[in-house]
C-alpha cells in the first residue's frame, strides 16, 4: 500500500479528499439534523466512505451508478452536485429531485448518478438494465450498483446476477457488507461461515473481496477489472467489509440500545478509513499537516455554501405535486 501511495500520490490524495468530503458533509448533516429542517429519513454512511470514494473516482463521468437508501457517499464520490443534494434533503424545489425524493432518492444524471432508491435490492436489476443498454448501444461504459449485505438476501439479486452473467453485461456489483440489515446481524440472516463472494462466484460471476475500510485496496481491486468490464467480458462482483458508525437511520449513535456492543463499535472505529490513509499520506510526504488543514477548509467552505443554498431555496408550490405523475412531454 505504501508503495502504491509512493507511486500514485495524486490518486491517493484524491481518494483522501473524496472520503473527507463525504465525512464532513455527513457530520454537518448529523450536527444540524436536530434543527428539524431536514425532514426525511436520512441514512448516514460515516465509516463506510472508502468504498464510495475509490469506486467513484475510478469510474468515468459517463459510467452509470445506482445506489440505495444510504447513498450520499456514492452520489458525492461520483461527482453528484452537493448543493442539489442538500436542497433535496431540505425538501426544496432546487433539490436534485425537486423535493419529491429526499435523502433516499438522489439523482444527478450529469455525473452519471442514475438514482438511489429505498427498497433493499431495488436498483440492482435497474443497473443490469443499464448494462444491457450499454451492450446494445455498443459503447464502453460501465454500470455500477452499490448495495448492502441485506440485498443479497433478496430474490431479485440472484435474478439480476444471473441475467448479467448470461448476457455478459458490463456491470459492477458492489456489496458493502456492514454486518447489519437495520438492527439484524448477518449471523441471524445468513448461515455461519457463508462467504457471500463465494456464493456469487458459483453463479459464474467473478467475485473479489477485500477490506472496505482501505481505500487504496478497494481502488486497486476494482481497477483490476475495469478494463475487462468495459470490454464486456463479464460482470464482476465485489464484497467489501465495512461498518456503519451511526444508527441505521438518523444522526445519532445507537450502541446503547442493545443490538450491538460498544466494543464492536470501538473495534471498527479504530479501523476508520480516513486517518488510516491520512497517516500514510503524511508518512510518504504526499501532503503535510498544513496541507490537510487546507483541504478540510476548502471542503468545509463548500459544505457551508451548499447548506446556505439549501436554506435559501424555495419550497415547491402546492400544484407541483401533480407535475411529475406522468411524463407527457412527447405527447
Amino acid at each position: 500500500m505504501n508503495n502504491f501511495i509512493k507511486k500514485n500520490p495524486d490518486i491517493s490524495l484524491e481518494l483522501f479528499r473524496r472520503m473527507k468530503k463525504i465525512r464532513l458533509t455527513e457530520e454537518k448533516i448529523a450536527e444540524r439534523y436536530c434543527e428539524g429542517k431536514m425532514r426525511c429519513p436520512t441514512h448516514l454512511c460515516i465509516g463506510q466512505e472508502a468504498i464510495a470514494a475509490a469506486v467513484g473516482f475510478l469510474l468515468r463521468k459517463n459510467d452509470f451508478v445506482l445506489s440505495t437508501h444510504r447513498s450520499h457517499g456514492h452520489y458525492l464520490a461520483k461527482g453528484g452536485d452537493l448543493k442539489k443534494m442538500l436542497a433535496e434533503i431540505y425538501g426544496k424545489v432546487s433539490g436534485c429531485s425537486k423535493g419529491n425524493g429526499g435523502s433516499m432518492h438522489l439523482i444527478d444524471k450529469s455525473a452519471g448518478f442514475m438514482g438511489s432508491t429505498s427498497i433493499v435490492g431495488g436498483t440492482i436489476p435497474v443497473a443490469v438494465g443499464l448494462g444491457l443498454s450499454i451492450k446494445l448501444h455498443k459503447s464502453d461504459q460501465i454500470s455500477c450498483v452499490f448495495f448492502g449485505d441485506g440485498a443479497v438476501e433478496e430474490g431479485v439479486f440472484y435474478e439480476s446476477v444471473n441475467f448479467a452473467v448470461l448476457k455478459k453485461l458490463p456491470v459492477l456489483f458492489i456489496c458493502e457488507n456492514n454486518l447489519y440489515s437495520v438492527y439484524s446481524h448477518l449471523k441471524v440472516r445468513q448461515p455461519q461461515g457463508r462467504k457471500i463472494y463465494k456464493m456469487v462466484e458459483a453463479m459464474g460471476c467473478p467475485a473479489i473481496h477485500g477490506d472496505g475500510n482501505n481505500a487504496v485496496e478497494v481502488y486497486e481491486k476494482v481497477k483490476s477489472v475495469i478494463g475487462p468490464a468495459r470490454e464486456g467480458k463479464n460482470p464482476f462482483f465485489f464484497e467489501f467489509k465495512t461498518y456503519r458508525w451511526r444508527e441505521h437511520c438518523g444522526p445519532n449513535y445507537d450502541n446503547d440500545i442493545g443490538y450491538r456492543t460498544e466494543e464492536e463499535f470501538i473495534f471498527w472505529k479504530k479501523k476508520d478509513p480516513i486517518p488510516f490513509l491520512e497517516k500514510k499520506l503524511l508518512k510518504e510526504d504526499v501532503i503535510s499537516k498544513e496541507g490537510i488543514t487546507v483541504i478540510e477548509q476548502e471542503i468545509s467552505k463548500e459544505i457551508e455554501e451548499a447548506f446556505e443554498f439549501a436554506e435559501k431555496s424555495l419550497f415547491p408550490q402546492q400544484n407541483e405535486v401533480f407535475k411529475y405523475l406522468y411524463d407527457e412531454c412527447a405527447q
Partner: protein
C-alpha cells in the same frame, strides 16, 4: 376492408413500432418459441434480430427492473407474460420503481416501458391462471392501464403504449385473440385515455372493457328485444379513465351499468359507479349497477366455472331489473345465444 384477428393486430403493432424506432426492443419468456406468445410474437426475431427480440430467464421481477434500466438509456422495451398471474412476482419493480421513477426524481428520468399481460378464462384455468387484475394496476399513480377490445384498437393502442414515455400495462383477453375485425395495414395510433362509444343508445349507459365489451354488445341485442336501447362505452383505457365520455353518456341516458370481468370489490366497476355518483348524481334515474365476477376465486372444474363468469344474459338480466322488467327469462324466450361457457365459441380450439 382488410380483416385480421386481434392476435395478428398485436403482431403488426410490434412490427410497425420496431420498424419506426430502432430503440424498441421486445422480450418475454417464450417470445421466440414455436408458439410465440399465442402467435402474437411470431416472426419478430427473424425480422429484427436477436439483440432486439429475445427470450428471458424466468425472473419476472428482475426483468422488469432490467426493462426500467434499459429504458433509462434510450430504449423502449416491450415485455410480455403469457399470464398476468406470473407478473405478480414483479410488483416490487413495477410499483416501487417503474411507477415512481419519473415522480420521485422530479421529472429527471422517464420509464417508457410497455408490459403486455394476458388474461383469460375457461378450460380449467383455475385460481392462478385466470385473474383479471386491471384494478390492482389502475390503483397505482404513475401507471397507465390499457385494455383493448377490438383488433383495430389493439394495434393502435399497442403502438401508442410503446411510444408513450410512461410505464403502460397492456392487458389482453385471450378470448379476443381469435376475433377478427378491420385493421388498417399501416402504422396508426389510438390515443391512451380515450374510450369509444361502440353502440349509441338513449336508455342506459353500459361501460365495459376488453372481452366484456363483446358480452355487452351481445347483451344489448337481448335488451333491444325488450325495447331497451343501450349505449355501450368500450373503455379501451382503464387509467387514465375517460371521465368525460362516461359522464356525458350517463347525463344523456340517466342509467348506468358497469361491466368488469374481474373480482367485484374495489374494482373498475366500483370506480365507475363512484365517478357517476360523485359527479352526476342528479342525472341518475335509478341506482347504478355493477356486473362483475363474484368476490371469490376462480374454480377449476367446468361445472363450477359455469356459474362464475357473467355472460350477455347476466348483463341483460341485471339491466332489465333497472327498467322493472321481470318475468320470462331470455333463455325461455330463446334470446340467449347458446354459447359454451368455458370456450369463447365453438370455433375456438385453443391454444389455451
Amino acid at each position: 376492408m382488410r380483416q385480421i384477428n386481434f392476435g395478428k393486430a398485436i403482431n403488426e403493432a410490434y412490427i410497425e413500432a420496431m420498424k419506426f424506432d430502432k430503440n424498441v426492443i421486445a422480450y418475454g419468456l417464450g417470445i421466440d418459441d414455436p408458439k410465440g406468445i399465442f402467435g402474437t410474437t411470431l416472426g419478430l426475431k427473424e425480422l429484427f434480430g436477436e439483440d432486439r427480440v429475445f427470450d428471458m430467464p424466468t425472473s419476472e421481477n428482475a426483468m422488469t427492473g432490467v426493462g426500467i434500466g434499459v429504458s433509462l438509456n434510450g430504449f423502449r422495451p416491450v415485455m410480455c407474460h403469457q399470464r398476468i398471474d406470473f407478473f405478480l412476482l414483479a410488483m416490487d419493480q413495477l410499483i416501487n420503481n417503474a411507477a415512481k421513477w419519473h415522480f420521485m426524481f422530479g421529472g429527471e428520468s422517464s420509464v417508457p416501458i410497455t408490459i403486455r399481460l394476458i388474461i383469460g378464462r375457461g378450460w380449467g384455468q383455475g385460481p392462478q391462471h385466470s385473474q383479471a387484475l386491471q384494478s390492482l394496476f389502475a390503483h397505482i399513480p404513475g401507471l397507465k392501464v390499457v385494455m383493448p377490445f377490438s383488433p383495430y384498437d389493439a394495434k393502435g393502442l399497442l403502438i401508442s403504449a410503446i411510444e408513450d414515455d410512461n410505464p403502460v400495462i397492456f392487458i389482453e383477453h385471450r378470448w379476443l385473440h381469435n376475433i377478427s375485425g378491420h385493421v388498417p395495414d399501416e402504422r396508426y395510433k389510438i390515443p391512451i385515455g380515450k374510450s369509444r362509444i361502440v353502440k349509441e343508445g338513449g336508455d342506459i349507459t353500459i361501460v365495459a372493457s376488453s372481452y366484456m365489451t363483446l358480452e355487452s354488445i351481445r347483451a344489448s341485442e337481448i335488451l333491444k328485444e325488450h325495447g331497451i336501447d343501450a349505449e355501450i362505452i368500450d373503455l379501451r383505457t382503464i387509467k387514465p379513465l375517460d371521465e368525460d365520455t362516461i359522464l356525458s353518456s350517463v347525463k344523456k341516458t340517466g342509467r348506468l351499468a358497469a361491466v368488469d370481468g374481474a373480482y367485484r370489490s374495489f374494482g373498475v366497476a366500483a370506480e365507475i359507479l363512484a365517478l357517476a355518483s360523485e359527479k352526476s348524481f342528479s342525472t341518475l334515474k335509478c341506482a347504478p349497477k355493477r356486473i362483475t365476477f363474484a368476490d371469490v376465486l376462480t374454480p377449476t372444474s367446468w361445472a363450477l366455472a359455469n356459474y362464475y363468469y357473467p355472460r350477455a344474459i347476466d348483463i341483460a338480466s341485471a339491466v332489465k331489473v333497472m327498467f322493472n322488467i321481470h318475468g320470462l327469462s331470455d333463455e325461455d324466450t330463446g334470446l340467449c345465444p347458446n354459447t359454451p361457457l368455458d370456450i369463447p365459441d365453438k370455433s375456438f380450439t385453443g391454444p389455451f
